[in-house]
Subunit: 152 residues, 2 copies
């Protein structure tokens, strides 16, 4: 079980974490740059959650990269439990944020709200899509690490 790709301390995990960080940063950029996102609860929620995901994924990407460099994957059940718990909580939060944003954007589009001027609503949609992609990668990390934890 030590070499299962995608678990903490492997190079596949570095790739997953970097993917999560990239998608969350893209989602934040689409939502925050020059957009009045604070007008809606759902958009504020997305920004908070994507900020958390970015910090979490970058930190774990560094831990993973260090583990790969010194060739000693982390196998302490305590540490893996914390990572699994964090991954699951963030996966639920990011799914919730992306669906809330998609739902609010759908409402704005349907009612031709002034908040949808120009390409604003396309940007909300792209932001929700990026958050969804970030969720799918966090879920992959969470599943790999949970599987590893069950074997330890």
């Amino acid at each position: 079980m030590d070499a299962l790709p995608g678990t903490l301390g492997t190079s596949a995990s570095v790739a997953l974490r970097l993917g999560q960080a990239i998608f969350s940063v893209t989602s934040l950029l689409f939502m925050c740059l020059d957009v009045p996102f604070y007008s809606y609860t759902a958009f504020c929620f997305l920004v908070s959650v994507m900020g958390l995901v970015m910090a979490w994924s970058l930190t774990l990407a560094m831990v993973d990269a260090f583990s790969v460099l010194i060739k000693r994957p982390v196998r302490q059940p305590g540490i893996i439990s914390v990572v699994v718990l964090g991954d699951w909580v963030l996966s639920f939060l990011s799914l919730a944020a992306s669906c809330s944003t998609a739902s609010a954007t759908d409402y704005l589009l349907r009612h031709s709200s002034p908040f949808c001027d120009g390409t604003l609503c396309t940007r909300y949609q792209l932001s929700a899509t990026m958050a969804f992609l970030s969720w799918s990668l966090i879920l992959a990390s969470a599943l790999f690490n949970l599987w590893l934890l069950a074997y330890l």
Copy 2:
């Protein structure tokens, strides 16, 4: 591992499944009875997902009750894999549906929409809450069964 409460074919699982069915039916009743829910994508999504959850949970409650009666819990990895997969998919769908509904309701309330006349928006909120409670019970079932699957 055979006696882990909450896994397929135990009396705790019957209770979890009945709880899921009750919450999903309550959510459907709040949303559907005399309410124009088909005006919004998020509300239609909630109704579809809660319908699925109701059917799934009632079916598995009957399977569990039968297993408890004949005192032979299901332990075939194939069957448990299907149940785990279904539980996970439904858990993500019900979280997504409840968050989308909550987000759309928040928008309706904030803009004093005519769709919020009387107690309508309170009913949407109650429906989203029931879907959220149903999600938490499906997640519990999914986790117990995934844990069992990892040991089989």
